[in-house]
Amino acid sequence: MNDTTFWDQRRSRIRTRKGGWRIGGGISVHGHSLLEDLVGRRSFFEVLYLEVTGKLPDPRLARWIEASFLCLAFPDPRIWCNQIGALAGSVRLTPTVGISAGVMASESTLYGPGSTRPAHDFLVSAQTARLGGATLEAFIASRTRPGGRVRAPGFTRPIAQGDDRVAALAGLAAELGFVNGTYLGLALEIDALLAPHGDAGLNMLGYLAAFLLDHGDMQIADGECLYALAVNAGVHACYAEAASAPAGGFLPLSCADVQYRGAPARPLPDAWPP
């Protein structure tokens, strides 16, 4: 007997808790009227938070989240996702496609919003270990490779050591009246412990994960959703400049700029097709 009730119930039907549009009856976002309650009264980041989590945030939290987006707005086309935006502008993609391609690239295991969950999970694991009776030193040792390199998402960063953005965001958090909770305290302790290990130290994503664990009032899946487009301003900048320059003019490569290291020239087999 086939029980297809689950699919039958959903056939030609959408059920949503988010809201929606009734023609002539307005747009509802989690029970709030978009045009009457939100437009002109709430910031974009307050509404973005509402759309993702279903809750209107404390405006201070929305302001801090907005600032954290600003911290990812590097208009530098050497940054990988930005370079894709620049290349897209240079070959005359439309803005939405080109910028989306750059944003898509930022879901990386090395940087950007793709690294948010590992940073979150690392802090949660550390806290769980500590609550289980382990010392932070023992936890760090369990994440250290035989060669001495620590695998600590949120505490390492490509290209640079240290992260100026942490102090900027911490300063804003203090100004807004946020105090360090369990996870921010933990992150700072880990930062101090890692200092002797060389190049590891609290980076922005680690700080962001700790801040949102303390103050974000959301699950990690919501956090990943909220930050999905976080690099967009930098990609926008690099796309815009390249798109307004002559086509093909961004960082062009001559043939000599590409090194071939494959098999040498050879003929096809005589008997082909086999």
């Binding site: 086939n2 297809t4 930022s106």
Partner: protein, 272 residues
């Protein structure tokens, strides 16, 4: 006051491409599929991938001449090459840890531009389809006369026809040879070759999007399909470059060093 237009929407998804055969015991399952009427299992036994792409996009199987030309099209445009923005984008993304699943979409997107991408293929196909009844030499002279004053960068006499890095694209000439061997004397591919030759005296010729467009029209594709076919053809090369770069880390690709990264102050015009 907002009012509904009462737009009439269909109750069902409609397709002429694919028929799924429902399982009599569970209509949520299919027991098989047909592509434009051909059973998929039979296609798997007897058709090549080239044949299948042609069937999917045109709705009919290719004849012998189309079969040969389709195969040459797909090989000719299998890789835009490591200097094309699409290849650089996927290599850049792969080296910097972008999730594997996003790499094809990034590559395909960057192969979609109006400059040496599928949008240019589509525009070129529309141009050729609209103008291929004209005498190529006369049309070339007419369009060159209408060219705007030279600006930095490459010339475009028409979409798909112009200069590449200031010259006639010699690589495109070599790509054109095996395709034009199969052209019908009065078809769009032969016409485009005559048009490109007519431009040679002005330092212009056909570019890969123009060649791809002319070949796709010769195969009977619409301009819209021509652009998509070009993107599809280039995907294997893009994936090969992505795979060779993935896992090698960010040092697998160049990163412009500080001394060669110049920030020009927008207010003063000077370097900051």
């Amino acid at each position: 006051m907002e009012q509904s237009r009462d737009t009439a929407f269909p109750d069902h998804v409609r397709t002429r491409v694919w028929e799924e055969l429902p399982d009599p015991d569970n209509a949520w399952l299919a027991t098989g599929a047909r592509c434009h009427g051909y059973a998929l299992d039979e296609m798997a036994r007897r058709l090549s991938f080239d044949d299948t792409i042609f069937l999917l996009l045109r709705g009919e199987l290719p004849d012998a001449a189309q079969r040969r030309l389709m195969s040459r099209f797909l090989v000719s445009f299998c890789n835009p090459g490591p200097r094309h923005a699409a290849s650089r984008a996927v290599m850049n993304a792969a080296a910097s840890g972008t999730r594997n699943a996003a790499l094809p979409a990034i590559g395909i997107a960057l192969l979609g531009g109006e400059h040496l991408g599928s949008a240019e293929v589509e525009h070129a196909a529309a141009f050729i389809a609209a103008r291929c009844s004209a005498e190529p030499i006369d049309l070339a002279a007419q369009l060159v006369a209408l060219e705007p004053p030279l600006t930095p960068g490459d010339r475009r006499v028409a979409p798909g026809f112009g200069t590449l890095h200031g010259n006639i694209d010699s690589f495109c000439l070599s790509l054109a040879a095996p395709l034009c061997e199969l052209a019908r004397p009065e078809g769009p591919l032969a016409w485009s070759a005559r048009f490109a030759a007519a431009l040679a005296g002005t330092g212009c010729g056909w570019l890969q999007p123009g060649l791809a467009a002319a070949t796709a029209l010769e195969l009977g594709f619409t301009p819209r399909a021509a652009g998509l076919l070009y993107q599809l053809a280039g995907l294997p090369g893009l994936l090969a470059h992505a795979l060779e770069t993935a896992g090698r880390g960010i040092t697998a690709m160049p990163f412009v060093p500080e001394e060669r990264y110049e920030y020009v102050d927008a207010d003063t015009g000077g370097s900051a």
